[in-house]
């Protein structure tokens, strides 16, 4: 690799920094007594997103130019103490670059769309700040060369997603939905926190190349199955897989543009990308692969079923997305990584478009009906009509209640923890009151 190609890859590695800097700049401007105008916000945001997109595009060009060999770009250490240093290590290869290019393109399209779609909305500036944080996060996640750096991007994606679900903050529904997304993300992200720790414990690095080399040489006892299972937990949360996938249909409370780019296009595919990155680990861990396939197939079945009884277009699309992502999980588990990569890119573009069209769904349906001159029958309706009425009712209830998965988790996990928390707090208060009474006597 010569000097020029090296510089081109460095430009790609700093691509996430542009949207992050723009978000910070807009955030500072909002604190002045005179708030920035919509045009100022759009100019700053689109400038940063264009720079970011061009950086990734140039790197993709350089990657193809120099023979499609994977590149590791190390920009130094973010911080160091003792033996440990947080490496700013990026990996540009046939998985990260095409997906990142797609992501940068979708974010660019979203910024143009939203500038008109959200014109004069009260949360205009907030939306752009969150979208920029998301852009920085997803690019960092996709270009990261280690699990540590990937986690940094993962957190930014999660944060912006949660805040965009609750974008319409004056309504109770979106706020509750945002909180549910947050709880799912935070609990499942523990998997992505523990997995790098296990890597550091065994081989003192969490870089993808380091893990791959350790697995190839087998000189270290790397607990591949445990690491892969923890990564699966994180992937399940972010990609709304069984049994923690209940948040995605609720996440449709956000603005159309964010639903398109986050839950149709990019955010929901982050789990699949994580599994693609964990491919060397999965190859060494048959049990984890079986778990990935099982989770994926169960999710695909359940989401497909629930989607067929969904009452609104956005939720129907959300279930369809979950179902397809489940299939991508199964592909990753079976080792079909190239198929999964292609599936991911194609699916994210298709869903992105579909989510953007959702507000016009009724108009589209009417136009179709007018053109065909008759009511179109959905294929799923015909399947339902073949069943007996009691069976239809039973299955309908099961599907509409999302197979009672969330209710079960609430009953056996969330409520007991909250009850214990309240009981401990109240006990402490009672003890203090008692001590005070004793003291006054």
């Amino acid at each position: 690799m010569n000097f020029h190609t090296d510089s081109l890859f460095t430009i790609a590695a700093i691509a996430p920094a542009w949207p992050a800097a723009a978000a910070l700049l807009i955030g500072v401007l909002t604190q002045r007594s005179r708030r920035p105008s919509e045009s100022t916000v759009v100019t700053i945001a689109q400038g940063a997103i264009w720079l970011s997109f061009l950086g990734v595009a140039i790197a993709a060009f350089a990657y193809v130019w120099q023979g499609r060999a994977p590149v590791e770009q190390m920009l130094g250490h973010f911080y160091q103490a003792g033996d440990y240093g947080f490496e700013l290590r990026f990996r540009l290869d046939g998985v990260s670059l095409p997906i990142c290019l797609t992501a940068a393109l979708l974010v660019l399209a979203t910024s143009s769309f939203s500038a008109h779609y959200l014109h004069r909305e009260p949360g205009f500036t907030r939306f752009f700040v969150l979208m920029l944080i998301f852009a920085a996060g997803i690019e960092l996640l996709l270009l990261a060369g280690s699990y540590d750096l990937l986690f940094a991007g993962w957190e930014l994606v999660g944060l912006s997603s949660v805040l965009l679900v609750g974008f319409f903050q004056e309504r109770a529904g979106p706020v509750r939905a945002g909180l549910r997304v947050l709880v799912t993300y935070r609990l499942c992200d523990i998997g992505l926190l523990i997995a790098p720790i296990l890597c550091h414990l065994a081989i003192h690095t969490s870089s993808f190349s380091g893990v791959q080399a350790a697995l190839a040489s087998q000189s270290h006892a790397l607990p591949a199955t445990a690491i892969a299972l923890f990564l699966l937990l994180a992937a399940m949360g972010k990609s709304a897989q069984f049994p923690v996938g209940g948040w995605l249909p609720r996440a449709m409370e956000g603005p159309t543009a964010s639903s398109a780019v986050f839950y149709g296009g990019l955010s929901v595919h982050a789990g699949v990308y994580l599994l693609l990155r964990a491919e060397p680990l999965l190859q060494q861990a048959p049990a984890a692969r079986a778990a990935v396939v099982t989770v994926g197939l169960i999710t695909a079945f359940m989401a497909g079923f629930s989607g067929s009884v969904s009452g609104d277009a956005k939720s129907g699309l959300a279930y369809a997305t979950i179902s397809q992502v489940g299939l991508m999980f199964a592909e990753c588990g079976l080792g079909w990584t190239r198929l999964a990569t292609l599936h991911l890119i194609a699916h994210s573009i298709l869903r992105y478009y579909q989510f953007l069209r959702v507000p016009s769904a009724l108009q589209d349906a009417l136009a179709q009906r007018a053109a065909l001159g008759a009511r179109m029958q959905r294929p799923s309706s015909a399947t339902w009509e073949r069943l007996t009425l009691p069976m239809q009712i039973f299955l309908y209830r099961l599907a509409i209640e999302r197979f009672e998965v969330e209710a079960t988790l609430d009953r056996f996990l969330v409520r007991p923890i909250l009850s214990v928390a309240r009981w401990l707090g109240e006990t402490e208060e009672r003890v203090l009151e008692h001590t005070k009474k004793e003291g006054t006597r």
Partner: protein, 495 residues
Amino acid sequence: MSAPELLPLFVYLLPLLGAALLLLRPAMAAWHVRQVCVVTGLCTLLCTLLLAAGSSGSPWPGAWFGVDSLSALLLPITAAVGLGVLWSSPLGELTSRRASLSLVAFAGVLGTLVSLNVLWLAAFWTLSLLPLYFELRRTRSAALPSYRIMLWLCVVPIWGLVAALAWPGVLSPSAIAAGRFDVVALATAHAFTRPATELWLGAMLLVALLGRIGCFPLHVWMVPVSARGPAALSLVTYSTPLGIFLVPRLLLPLFPALCQHAFPLLLPLAVLSALYGAIVGLGQTDSRRALGYFWMSQQGFLLAGLSSLSVEGVSGALLHALATVVVRVGLVLSVLAIASRTGTSDVRLLGGLAQRAPRLSALFLVLVVAAIGIPGTAGFVSEDLIVQGLVQHHPVAAVLLLTTTALNGILLFRLHHSLFLGIKSPAPQAPRTDDFPDFLPRERWVTLSLIGLLLTGGLVSAPLLAVRGNVIRSLQAVGAVAPSSHESSHEHGGG
């Protein structure tokens, strides 16, 4: 005395002067009380900045007061946070008496930081705790009995150490020659003649540490003080990381052998504190109580980092001490701003405030994000270092602490959602929020400064860690902190 030797005196004399002025004028209007506090705080901050800028990292030999690598960074940040607290506290909190007590506590905290003499350190340590005690006693607070126990636990051991140092035969002749109460000299000499004395004194100081940081089960004073205590005074008193400061200042240098044995035993307690605070915090409906439990959880995190006795863990803990103080002060000041405007801190009676106060909501959210250690903030760096410090020898503790960070995230986001988002509480006793004012410029700039500190610590953490590197090296020199494997292999190869 030369100017560099005199300057540390002003660090605590200025707040004491301000306190005396307020005590002489008990009927002063709240607005003037705030002016006195702000002027005093600004002058003190200026002194600490001059001291930090002029610090060479090693104080004058034999000096009673001075600034070294440990206090160089802590001193201006503590002064800035104290100034922020006094400046942006609601006027209702700033009676002449309370403000003067806050300034006395402020002087005690800063005096402890600049003390290089055990006698003075004990005096200022005690001074930092007493004002809150007197205020709790005057108001007959429910927190008084537990705070009284904490006071004894914190004060008696440190005066016990002073008495032991003064007692004939306790110190070795070399330590007496170097300086009987000199912290720096005692650290470099083999201070104690008998191991048993060293063991008892060290154990007593450990108890003082656990009491001050509010480690489980000694945390019972912390939550009621946080929820019902006088806000500005309690923030000045116990939001400053004096308990943690005691570890690298006295415990590790004077009792390295004890720490090597005792700190790993403290690790389960630290993890329990972190988990307990996070879980119980989830069940709270009062925002101030919830923040009290969050603070307890963070203290457990800090103690876990110190207990690792590794370079990464101790570096992370020292940085986390600063980050959590800044975050907590910002969060508590925001909650106080809400409580002073609505008359309640009960989240069941609030909600939907973001529509009336978008800036308050946005800045609170940024503080929440910083508190849970999102990348780009100081909390991310410090939590990562603490976990890395624990990974090699205590992986289970590391995993449990990571669970704690997840729970704390849920706790704080839930708090933000309950206070600011959704619709206003329909409860009949809910306060009117139609004319709820947003952050005032004064409150906004204080909070923005705190956020600036957190972002600076997160984005350019290398210089902060480099300053703390000197502390780690001095602790390694006395054998209190294990050398990194790189250094040990280098030394091994060289030898």
